[in-house]
């Protein structure tokens, strides 16, 4: 058990290191962007004096390392600064949007993870059957179509008829049920996008194991094919399955930009697109850092879970 804690500590440390490197990259990348924030804020008519004064006030004249340091220390304390476009604190701006994005990600995960794991297990169980081929073909079709196109197809078939709304408006008075109903189409779009990957990896991870002597042993003990797969193959296939699920969950949080735009969903992706259009660098930086943290955290969880799932690592003799 101590091993596990040490491993978690180690991975956390590596995660923090990764985040630090990412923060440097994010900061560096936004430095390279063309455009002058002060002019952006004050408009074309501003005089050189007012521009200089504003630059001074915003600290834009400080050397880059100093600005990076100020930004990082503030961000670590939860203060991402003030949005230069809307003049509101970024933490507030991002807070509500993050909630919405997480809601959508969890919604899509709650649909896609059970569906893809079930389909993957069944496809492995009935490999090379009609079911296997059909579900593979469908999943591949879904993943081959660009997601904005999937979104428009769903809008065409499910929103035009008035079955589901094609736009999502979440206000303070929106109930949980309403939110589920309104977010159904974006969640379904995301589900269609991520299911194929998880399903096919689950299927492959299980089939990979079926040639093992212990699988034959289970069959020779008279166990049913379903039990052989669920009890004897799946526990040994958990590590790759957990990893692919984590990867796709991370994508559900960070890859939603297009879907959010199509459905006008008030999430982080939308916010990021708006911020990029407005050259609102501080917001872009904050969101990029949040996305990176989601990746690092989910991968950390995946590592820990796959270690726990392996008795050879948990119970060293």
């Amino acid at each position: 058990m101590n091993d596990i804690w040490r491993m978690i500590g180690q991975r956390l440390l590596f995660g923090l290191l990764t985040l630090f490197v990412i923060s440097v990259v994010i900061f560096g990348a936004t430095e390279l962007l063309p455009g002058d924030l002060a002019r952006e804020l004050l408009g074309q008519s501003a005089t050189e004096e007012t521009l200089a004064a504003l630059r001074d006030q915003l600290g834009l004249n400080d050397p880059a390392p100093l600005r990076y340091w100020n930004w990082l220390t503030a961000a670590l304390q939860g203060d991402f600064g003030v949005s230069m476009a809307t003049k509101r604190p970024i933490a507030d701006l991002v807070g509500a949007r993050l909630g919405n994005t997480l809601f959508l990600a969890l919604y899509a995960a709650a649909l896609s993870v059970p569906i893809s794991l079930t389909l993957g297990v069944l496809a492995a169980l009935w490999r090379n059957s009609i079911f296997d081929r059909a579900s593979n073909a469908l999943a591949l079709t879904a993943i081959s179509i660009p997601e904005f196109f999937v979104a428009y197809i769903l809008v065409l078939f499910l929103a035009q008829s008035g079955l589901f709304p094609s736009m999502v408006r979440i206000t303070g008075s929106t109930t949980f049920g309403d939110q589920l109903y309104m977010s159904f189409l974006p969640a379904l779009t995301l589900t269609l996008v991520v299911t194929a990957h998880m399903m096919r990896m689950t299927r492959a991870a299980i089939i990979n194991l079926l040639a093992n002597p212990y699988i034959e042993m289970a069959r020779l003990k008279g166990m049913s094919p379903l039990r052989v797969v669920l009890r004897h193959a799946v526990p040994n296939a958990l590590a790759p399955i957990i990893n692919v699920v984590a990867l796709n969950l991370a994508y559900l949080i960070t890859g939603v930009v297009v879907v959010e735009v199509v459905f006008v969903y008030p999430g982080l992706g939308q916010l990021m697109v708006d911020a990029v259009t407005n050259r609102d660098i501080a917001v872009v930086q904050a969101i990029a850092l949040i996305f990176a943290s989601a990746y690092v955290l989910l991968n950390l969880i995946a590592d820990v879970l796959s270690t726990i799932s392996n008795p050879r690592l948990m119970h060293r003799s």
Binding site: A211, N212, P213, Y214, E216, M217, A218, R219, L220, K221, G222, M223, S224, R227, R231, H232, P235, N236, S309, N310, P311, R312, H315, S317
Partner: protein
Amino acid sequence: MEKQPLLTIRGLRIEGRSGDAWHEIVKGVDLTLHKGEVLGLIGESGAGKSTIGLAAMGFARDGCRISGGSILFDGIDLRAVPEAERRALRGKRIAYVAQSAAASFNPAHKLIDQYCEGPVVHGVMPREKAEADAVELYRRMRLPNPEEIGFRYPHQVSGGQLQRAMTAMAMSCRPDLIIFDEPTTALDVTTQIEVLAAIRDIVRQFGTAAIYITHDLAVVAQMADRIKVLLRGDEVEEADTRSMLTAPREEYTRSLWAVRSFARAEQPPATGTPVVSVRGVTAGYGAVDVLKDVSFDIHARRTVAVVGESGSGKSTAARVITGLLVPRKGEVLFNGKALPPNFKARSRAELRQCQMIYQMADTALNPKLRLRELIGRPAEMYLGLKGKALESRIRDLLALIELEPDTYIDRLPGELSGGQKQRIGIARALAAEPQLIICDEVTSALDQIVQEGILKLLDRLQSELNLAYMFITHDLATVKAIADEVVVMQQGVVVERGPKTELFGRPHEAYTDLLLSSVPEMDPDWLNRLLASRGEHA
């Protein structure tokens, strides 16, 4: 009137698929087994032993199909009944013990969970009763800590103990028939005896019928009431054990019996500087010393056999010589000159001098490379051969290992038999033109007839090319056949070393004695006598 047999197989035909074509691998075999009887199935690999054993459970591996004949188990036609009914028999009335228990236990579950699965799923007994029963069977199988051992995972239990735990698991539903598929092949001789005795006792106690599959005649002689000899899917002959051993009728059976006829001519004592000299080496992993002050020499044109059970440090010694493991103390001299302890510090010429051949030719050869590349790469790397010169060297090497160059040069390892793959392993080692070849259990995965071919080849190459061999093995019959000198190791210490003739002739160390006496003999009473002399059994 004669009692109804438990298992009656008539005209059994099984086909295997290769590519798109089906070809017959079992060609009309008959088999009759009565209650409480043990039948030995013997033959080389490819004889169809395991396939027949599985067919007795109504089971065919993927890529195989039962294409003809009838299988009657206790009046039930296993080919006619639906799969669900066959499944209800498997594990409950017909159980299976696999060759490698280490691979056949599920690594994700504790032993006792795997034990209880059968009885609970088949509705024989509830979980609590099964657990109590498991402890009882573990005790009867003479496993240490029977109360506790079930709660371990497979990787926490040794191979010999796993094999006994698997036999206990097969017994869990008190089946009428157990198929033992080479259950001791992967074990050391000393461990093998314990497992054999435990299996034999439990089968007798419960009056279980058994099919005992093996390629080791001496083992089957201890276990079986009757023996059936198979060759390429056909029956050669069948008789009760004693008459089969004393008076085999068929030519092929006699050749099996005589297989260990090969013995290397005795060599005069070696003189001069040894090719390799291991001096006072202490080495290990982590805090544990696996080798303790180990010394031995190997001379040119001599074979030194390093014997001992698994865990005795044989392979670790090889890792020290090759520089894969840096010793804590001591050194390795090559032609009298000290070698850098780490292989990374050795020059290419030094690396070239010492090559290895591995136990599992299957995993030691890259399956995606053709023989041309497998053998050519070391010749290219060490000797700088290119183009025509390389091509002709590869052809010479193939001819040297008795494989026709034109036929084989562009084949993939998957298109070769086990013995041929091992020959490629030898050619790859020879390609570097070494002075020393370390052979790590090179024959233990092979059939006896194939083993003999490999040993003869190695012997011939040695005298033609002046090679020194370090021969790591736990098989003393191989030692008798090929070694000049023997180094006996136990728990990292050299307990005895000397010329073969001396070592096998004189009274020796208790451990050497234990090893030597554990090699099964062809006498059906051997196990009884041995156990009696060791006072383990009446």
